[in-house]
């Protein structure tokens, strides 16, 4: 092979080689650290836990529920109790939307308590959405038991 051919060949090799890419990556052994909570929330001082149920996707109370709330309101006023209403949903649908639906349920119950004479500063509401079901199971029997509001008196 003469010099010209060799030069041409070298240029060709460089040309082909330059069509490929080059990279250098580096890794490190950094890792994440864990933390934990002990959970300050508790049901200390609970005097009663009452349950109201709801239809799928709904936050309205039927007449049976309304009667229950009337009775509860009297008990609360007579004994000067504090109330916490917790709203819950069944597992269907998205979690954050269910957090909002659970809040609607809790608020509906709270409003009915207020209408029946309970002072609003005695009532707090919280929603757990679908995060704290009463029973597990992906069927209407289980779902109906999870669509609920808990009225806890202290």
């Amino acid at each position: 092979m003469n010099t010209t051919h060799k030069t041409l060949l070298t240029m060709l090799v460089f040309l082909i080689a330059s069509c490929s890419s080059v990279s250098t990556d580096r890794t490190n052994d950094a890792t994440a650290i864990s933390a934990s909570a002990s959970g300050a929330y508790s049901d200390n001082g609970l005097t009663s836990n009452n349950i109201l149920y709801f239809a799928y996707d709904r936050s309205d109370i039927n007449s049976e529920g309304r009667a229950k709330i009337r009775t509860l309101a009297k008990l609360i006023k007579d004994n000067d109790l504090s109330v916490r209403v917790e709203g819950h949903c069944d597992e269907r649908g998205t979690r954050e939307y269910n957090l909002a639906l659970g809040e609607q349920r809790a608020k509906t119950v709270a409003e009915l308590l207020i209408i029946n004479g309970v002072s609003s500063n005695k009532i707090s509401t919280v929603s757990y959405g679908e995060e704290k079901p009463a029973v597990s199971g992906s069927n209407e029997n289980s779902w109906s038991k999870n669509r609920r509001a808990l009225v806890k008196t202290f």
């Binding site: 082909i16 080689a17 069509c19 490929s20 890419s21 080059v22 990279s23 250098t24 990556d25 580096r26 890794t27 490190n28 052994d29 950094a30 890792t31 994440a32 650290i33 864990s34 933390a35 934990s36 909570a37 002990s38 959970g39 300050a40 929330y41 996707d57 597992e91 269907r92 649908g93 998205t94 979690r95 954050e96 939307y97 957090l99 909002a100 639906l101 809040e103 609607q104 509401t125 919280v126 929603s127 757990y128 959405g129 995060e131 704290k132 597990s136 199971g137 992906s138």
Partner: protein, 430 residues
């Protein structure tokens, strides 16, 4: 030479069977015409014995979503580790379109190693990429994932996601009665609990630099948004307002966080401005507005609202506050996420009572259902826009499952311990 390699392959297979992981991938479906690729076990030139197999990790990565058919080492006719050892005929005969070879060498620092690898286009008989990965020997899996990413991007033209992570919530079990915020590699290895609590955890969201995760915790009795730094486990609770504090979602530019507060009386979309340390209200409607997600350019937010009577997806221009409805098919459309191209969304779509994951083109409104599972929720998209992971049920068990965006490959990731929900795919890191 070949006998030694076979021995090493068997040894590494035995070792990988013992490694524990919390998410396993089981695949069904796949492309009819996958890319045929051969990954030759890399030559190990270190004095310390080989504990992992880079080849095995790369093969497993590339097979994850049905896009590649990876040649088994026992079918290989030769085992080159250098360019001059490659006979393209050996690979053309076996039908390989691409070939990857490499070797592992020591560095001055004895705890570190250097991997040199070459990617070949077999048909054109040329090198398309020369790569190097340097790092501690203990980070071999990470190094293999980086190689998988490079192979993927050179053969597919879009970034690989094998170095990304998934955050998810682990539900309490009898053995472990706490909620855990978990992170894990996409292949299920290196899973770690970032935070554990006896009260519920929800909605993990990654910052775009992958250094922080925001999430909702009920540890104080009601929902509050926390931001945790991964490297230090330092936690900051954002100012807790009356009612719901939830659905945190970092803006891609890292400057703001969207979230849901119901302090006004009903759930509305808010933005937390980190500079001013305050909440700014964006929507003001008496219905439920929730589940915000930022557009890739940080100018818009999609969110779920029941303002028309039932949950639908809306798009909000952050500057003008103008709201536009996006979904019109079906009576329940929720929890939308933008695809990285900003032109489509993936969301939960209920049809005939069944909750599916679907995509919709924002311009045309065309819907495509991706899943044939039921009770699907929480879709999260890979940062290259190719794969969706979501939460669903397998009988009574909460599991994570996935589907490629073209709907062709479906896979499940059943947790070995506990039950997984609310997956959140991390961004890409360089």
């Amino acid at each position: 030479m070949i006998k030694k390699r076979v021995f090493l392959i068997i040894l590494s297979l035995v070792f990988s069977a013992f490694l524990s992981s919390q998410l396993r991938i089981e695949i069904k479906g796949g492309l009819e015409d996958p890319i045929n690729i051969a990954i030759v076990p890399f030559q190990w030139n270190l004095k310390t014995p080989q504990q992992e197999s880079i080849q095995r990790v790369v093969q497993s990565d590339l097979e994850s979503f049905g896009e590649y058919a990876v040649l088994s080492p026992e079918n290989m006719l030769s085992l080159p580790s250098r360019a001059e050892e490659v006979f393209f005929k050996d690979w053309r005969i076996l039908g390989s379109d691409f070939l990857v070879i490499g070797e592992v060498n020591s560095l001055e620092e004895p705890t570190e190693m250097l991997v040199n690898y070459l990617i070949f286009d077999v048909v054109r008989e040329r090198i398309i990429h020369r790569g190097k990965v340097i790092g501690p020997i203990v980070t071999q899996r990470k190094m293999a994932h980086k190689i998988s990413d490079k192979i993927y991007s050179k053969t597919q033209g879009i970034p690989g996601i094998f170095s990304t992570k998934i955050a998810y919530i682990d539900k309490p079990s009898d053995l472990n009665p706490v909620y855990n915020l978990m992170i894990s590699d996409i292949d299920g290895f290196d899973s770690l609990s970032l935070f554990s609590s006896p009260q519920p955890l929800m909605s993990p969201s990654w910052s775009s630099d992958m250094k922080k995760i925001a999430y909702v915790s009920f540890e104080e009795g009601s929902s509050r948004i926390y931001i945790q730094e991964l490297a230090t486990a330092e936690r900051i609770g954002l100012k807790q307002e009356e009612g719901i504090n939830s659905s945190p979602n970092w803006s891609p530019d890292g400057k703001k966080m969207s979230a849901v507060l119901s302090k006004s009386g009903n759930p509305d979309i808010h933005i937390y401005d980190f500079k001013q340390s305050r909440w700014i209200q964006l929507t003001n409607h008496f219905g439920i507005d929730t589940e915000p997600d930022w557009s890739p350019d940080s100018n818009k937010l999609i969110f779920t609202s029941n303002r028309s009577g039932s949950p639908q997806i809306y798009e909000l221009n952050v500057k003008s506050k103008k709201v536009k409805r996006l979904t019109f098919e079906g009576s329940y459309n929720a929890r939308a996420r933008y695809l990285p191209n900003g032109k489509e969304i993936v969301f939960v779509h209920r049809r005939n009572g069944i909750f599916h994951i679907a995509t919709q083109n924002i311009k045309t409104g065309k819907i495509k259902i991706l899943t044939d599972t039921t009770l699907d929720e929480s879709p999260t998209v890979s940062p290259n826009g190719n794969v969706v992971i979501y939460a669903t049920k397998d009988g009574e068990k909460d599991i994570l499952a996935g589907v490629t965006i073209d709907g062709r490959t479906k896979f499940t990731m059943p947790s070995m311990k506990g039950e997984a929900r609310e997956p959140s795919w991390s961004p890409l890191i360089d």
